[in-house]
Amino acid sequence: MFEQAMSLLLSGEFICPIRYPDAYRYLSEETHQKDVTAYLARIGRKLSVTGLGGGWYMSFDQIGQDQRRAVRDEFSRIKLDLRFLVEFFVKAMRASEREEFYSRGDKIETHALMAAIDSNPGLRAEFQALATVGRGSGSDGKLKSNLDRQLKYLRDEGYLVLANPDREIYQVTGKIEYLYEVVQFLMGIDGIADDVDEEGPTTQQMF
């Protein structure tokens, strides 16, 4: 199992209980973490885990000039995707009438999501608009095609796995916790309050 876990870490994967349950279980043991850490230390890397413990990944042991360049490249990718990722998950949450944000293991049923979006013209327009955010427009402009493409992109990026191909049910992976941390950091550094009034000022307040 060391070999599998190490190969995944070296190739830049997030090891979470949803996507790689065996490797995740392996890394959950302290002795195995020590083995992996010792190995990675020899190539200037270390074993890191998301704040909520849902995803193991490889990170730099020291940050020098070369590493800063790599950090910049990685963050540039995040910047490109950030708007799409945040908006997709928040809109999906709203469409599914969830109070909780998605966490590892949560399911996204394509058909249920599609039906929820389709029955709400506002959401429908928002999802259509989302199709042009970051990812380019859909091939035929249809909502289902756009949604499929967005879900596939999230799967390719490691945020989702296709848990049931027949019923098109996706499951959120531990990488979502990485996104939590990015957003939390940006909100902190840019002074974005997390208690904003979603509805905006009411008519009464305006007068």
């Binding site: 070296l10 190739s11 490889m58 950090v71 910049r72 945040v86 944000f101 997390d194």
Partner: protein, 411 residues
């Protein structure tokens, strides 16, 4: 005279006879005469059997003891269920019953003692069953994360309520463990008989129950912590999405210049890993051979052999298609610029003397020379082309070349 066994059987037969009515009462909450296919007789019999109790407006509800039984069987979850509520009371009965046994034994009332021992056995079993049932119920609730309630806030309240229930059961178990009942039974008459059931049903299970309770507590606490985190995360993401919507020009700041990078930013990109088998390693020979054998033989690429043919005779060159052979005017230009000296030579006079270009129109000849001059070739270096112009219409922009005087400049 009916025996106790007969009474139970009769009761069950009665319940079975009106099973539809009981099921309706359980699922719908209340039943009335309209639901009774025996036109009210079913309601009457079940009321007599204490399976139904009058509710309001000639409706009946299921007796709570029977409803609890169905809940247990069907694992129906209720909000704020009084799970394990009776554990403390049931445990408190045991010393009282054991005292009664001891007193009856001392006073020689053997039949009473037997009866009390039987009751003690039942009380022990009831306590054990109650604790096991409560633990099982709590475990299901913890594992399915309060799936019977939809909203996060309700889940949190349920979670906190059941954590309190777990604490109460845990306190009751501690009380049982520290009650000294075992020591008391060991020194009392007929205590041995009581100890047997107490040990097998309660004492031997206490460590397992406490471990289960600790597990459940851990799950509930972890979930409570997670739900609190999730609540904060959901609020944060909504706020950030709203911020992005209101600030379309927002671009996250560059972070690589920060002195202290957050942990997530230090994530290292992956390596592109690719391995190849070492063909020089004898240990791999067999494996490689096996792989090689499993690869189907490549089909030879068939290249069609062209038929042998004969070269055709070259067709005669078309008139004017002389390949690289210079034209007469080119030869004439070449001849003029190589033979010309310092003395200017009139191009027109020279043409008249040259028979090879006699057919060439004069203006074309002059154009050829002007072209030669414009090319500024190495061969015309030092050759001067002096144009003899005719007077043209003023301001017409026209230059009429009548002749060109060609001469070699002084070196």
């Amino acid at each position: 005279m009916a025996t106790k066994t007969d009474l139970v059987e009769n009761h069950l037969v009665k319940l079975f006879r009106h099973k539809e009515l009981l099921a309706a009462a359980y699922h719908r909450g209340v039943v009335s005469k309209a639901d009774d296919k025996f036109d009210g007789r079913g309601l009457y019999e079940l009321h007599q059997a204490r399976a139904l109790v009058p509710y309001a407006n000639e409706t009946y509800r299921l007796a709570s003891s029977l409803a609890r039984h169905f809940d247990e069987i069907l694992q129906t979850e209720h909000l704020y269920a009084a799970v394990g509520a009776d554990v403390g009371d049931l445990a408190a009965r045991l010393p009282l019953l054991s005292d009664a046994v001891a007193k009856a034994a001392i006073e020689g009332r053997n039949e009473d003692a037997d009866e009390y021992i039987d009751q003690f056995d039942r009380a022990v079993f009831e306590l054990a069953d109650s604790v096991s049932g409560a633990l099982q119920f709590l475990r299901i609730l913890a594992d399915n994360k309060f799936a019977n309630v939809a909203t996060y806030a309700e889940k949190k309240r349920q979670n906190e309520f059941y954590l309190e229930r777990v604490r109460k059961i845990s306190d009751a178990l501690v009380a049982i463990q520290t009650s000294g009942l075992i020591e008391s039974l060991e020194s009392s008459p007929e205590g041995e008989r009581l100890l047997l059931s107490y040990r097998s049903q309660i004492a031997d299970h206490l460590p397992e129950w406490r471990a289960n309770l600790l597990d459940i507590t851990a799950i509930l606490r972890e979930y409570l912590f997670r739900t609190r985190q999730i609540e904060a995360t959901a609020r944060r993401f909504r706020a950030f999405a709203l911020f992005l919507k209101r600030t379309p020009e927002y671009v996250p700041p560059d972070i690589e210049a920060l002195a202290d990078l957050p942990d997530w930013a230090c994530r290292a990109p992956g390596f592109s890993l690719r391995s190849r088998a070492s063909v020089n390693d004898p240990a791999l020979d067999d494996s490689l051979l096996e792989i090689a054998k499993s690869i189907p033989a490549a089909k030879p690429i068939s290249v069609p052999v062209p038929k042998a043919g004969m070269l055709k005779d070259e067709p005669p060159a078309a008139p004017g298609d002389e390949g690289g052979k210079p034209k007469p005017w080119q030869e004439a230009v070449q001849s003029l610029i190589t033979t010309v000296g310092k003395q200017p030579v009139s191009a027109m006079s020279w043409k008249r003397r040259t028979s090879s270009i006699s057919d060439l129109p004069n203006d074309i000849w002059l154009l050829c020379l002007l072209h030669e001059e414009s090319l500024r070739r190495r061969r015309t270096e030092g050759i001067r082309f002096e144009q003899i112009l005719e007077a043209a219409e003023p301001l017409s922009g026209m230059l009429k070349v009548r002749d060109i005087l060609v001469s070699r400049a002084d070196q």
